[in-house]
């Protein structure tokens, strides 16, 4: 699965303002509403579901990356977005490091395979340090979009 299959480009954020886990998740969910990918009516229940999932164990998977996610009946296909925090956010990550790079995913309840393949794409590309570093250094959403497109078309050597 490619990033372009699930990342809503207009919902990409290169500078999140929030400095808490919940704040970042709220900002990203709002970005998906603004991009028309989730309904405003579903926003709050999607946020709640993502936070509930975080309670089971942080999705901060290390390397300054987190993948907050949930299933929700409000979407018919997998949607997601990417955000970067300059200062990093305490996400109770597995390695304890603050998180700078966020991939938020909302998938339909009956498509666990799509969710797995999105996680696969993200984790495969993020094994590459240079790719992580470039994403975290992105100045504007377009930079992130271009990096994702490059990863989609060439893959990242790792």
């Amino acid at each position: 699965m490619k990033f372009s299959d699930f990342v809503a480009t207009t919902a990409i954020r290169s500078h999140v303002d929030a400095d808490t886990k919940e704040g970042v998740i709220r900002e990203m969910a709002r970005a998906l509403v603004d991009a028309g990918k989730i309904l405003a009516a579903d926003e709050e229940s999607i946020i709640k579901a993502i936070l509930k999932r975080e309670d089971l164990g942080s999705t901060g998977i290390g390397r300054g990356v987190a993948v907050p996610h949930t299933k929700h009946p409000g979407v018919t296909r997998l949607v997601g977005t990417v955000a970067v925090s300059r200062g990093g956010v305490d996400f109770e990550s597995l390695d304890g490091d603050p998180v700078q790079l966020f991939f938020l995913l909302v998938s339909p309840p009956d498509r666990p395979g799509d969710h797995l393949r999105a996680l696969e794409s993200i984790s495969r590309q993020l094994r590459d340090d240079a790719f992580c570093k470039l994403l975290k250094a992105a100045k504007e959403p377009l930079d992130i979009q271009h990096l994702l497109e490059e990863a989609d078309s060439h893959g990242v050597v790792s």
């Binding site: 089971l56 969710h115 696969e120 984790s123």
Partner: protein, 114 residues
């Protein structure tokens, strides 16, 4: 160590007896596949052991101690994997990892938790 290097003279191409590889087949049984939470549990368990832990799928291998590597397997429900453990505590490590799969990573087969 001197003792080990003497052994390796006799058996240069393969691992020393302490480095024996143990393996067993496991099946991803939970309906959501090997997603973020089980991958996290797996990597945490693997890191408790000195041995190298690898997961072998049809077309690729993953370092069991890295959640990123485990997630790249995108192992769906029903996928068969081989867990390989190599090192001084390989047998115990393999048992611990195998038991995580046997217990479905403490998820119910139909769990909706992702």
């Amino acid at each position: 160590m001197a003792a080990n290097s003497r052994e390796s003279l006799h058996d240069a191409a393969s691992a020393t007896p302490r480095e024996k590889t143990f393996s067993r087949e496991v099946v991803v049984a939970n309906s959501q596949g090997l997603h973020a939470r089980p991958a996290d549990l797996l990597a945490r368990e693997a890191r408790r052991w000195q041995s190298r832990i690898e997961l072998v799928a049809e077309s690729q291998r993953a370092d069991g101690k890295s959640i990123l590597e485990v997630l790249t397997l995108a192992a769906e429900s029903g996928t068969r994997l081989v867990v390989e453990a190599t090192g001084p505590d390989a047998r115990e490590a393999l048992e611990a990892i195998g038991s995580l799969f046997d217990r479905n990573f403490n998820e119910h087969a139909g769990s909706q938790n992702t």
